[in-house]
Symmetry: C2
Subunit: 182 residues, 2 copies
């Protein structure tokens, strides 16, 4: 068995948003050392909203921490007391001004498996209704429906660099029929 033994974990930094710990781990061969952990208490969820005539609902935005610009799907942190689906739909509305139709589960994953316990969940929605200006206007430089051939070109040109957005679109193309000729 290659499961590591964790003898305990002590806090190095704690906050309601992100905490860092030092886990006391032992490998199967007996080596023992401290390993950093990054823990985020809430999962995040995103939505691939697609309409045959419009394309995919995307946001062009800057991320100040990695200092990158790129296209992203609407996504954000699920709040306490909220279902994951409700959080994904709320974030879509807040960031784009469009309320997505019923959500269909796509997949979930751990974005930084070796360091963080963070969990991301992805959904698809067949369309959305326009409600108004986005509440979180500070999130997006542009909000656009991007036609599917252009979505593929955006990916190929490296203009989508957010991992969650990439998994959403690539998964939808490989497993949810996105881009299939009708």
């Amino acid at each position: 068995m290659t499961r590591w033994t964790v003898h305990g974990e002590r806090a190095a930094y704690q906050s309601p948003w992100v905490s860092v710990g030092l886990a006391d781990v032992e490998l199967p061969d007996g080596r023992r050392f401290d390993h950093h952990t990054v823990r985020t208490p809430r999962p995040a969820a995103g939505v691939v909203v697609h309409e045959p005539d419009r394309g995919v609902l995307l946001i062009w935005r800057h991320r100040f921490i990695p200092d990158t610009w790129g296209w992203e799907i609407p996504a954000g942190r699920v709040e306490l007391g909220e279902t994951i689906e409700a959080g994904a739909a709320r974030e879509t509305l807040e960031e784009t001004g469009w309320r997505p139709g019923p959500l269909r589960y796509l997949c979930q994953f751990t974005p930084m498996s070796g360091v963080a316990d963070t969990r991301f969940i992805l959904f698809a929605a067949a369309g959305a209704n326009h409600v108004g200006e986005p509440l979180d206007a500070h999130e997006a430089e542009r909000i656009e429906w991007v036609p599917l051939p252009e979505v593929r070109a955006v990916l190929a040109r490296g203009e989508m660099v957010d991992g969650m957005s990439m998994i959403g679109l690539l998964w939808a193309m490989s497993f949810d029929g996105l881009g299939d000729t009708p």
Copy 2:
């Protein structure tokens, strides 16, 4: 412009592996607050190794921080003074005992764009040569060449939950011809 203004950042926790900061940010509408940052000084890189007769070189492993089991591509941290390609090839050899052939760039991304400056880079290799037992035997419960139809089934069943591995395989299927009938 929706680029946020960053007035400064102070350290909350520092280590050579991962650091946490508090950035003093101002939104375009004038709201100002502290935003957590997670910074990792080194990028990580992974390789999708594929041979037509064998399939894809994958590792079945446990991740103690998110407490998940799943199939992953070989990947790891690029060390100081090492090129990203060299780090990706070294990690593949250390984790699997197979030395990959020449690497072909696939894509790069930020796995947690809203929180971390971490950067992941992915490559493909057409085959690998067996060198011996993996140096990092503690990384993997199983090391296997998984045939392509089974790789698709692994993804569909949710038996691959590591984001970097998912992007590597999904990207290779959508943009690098992985799985195309010859």
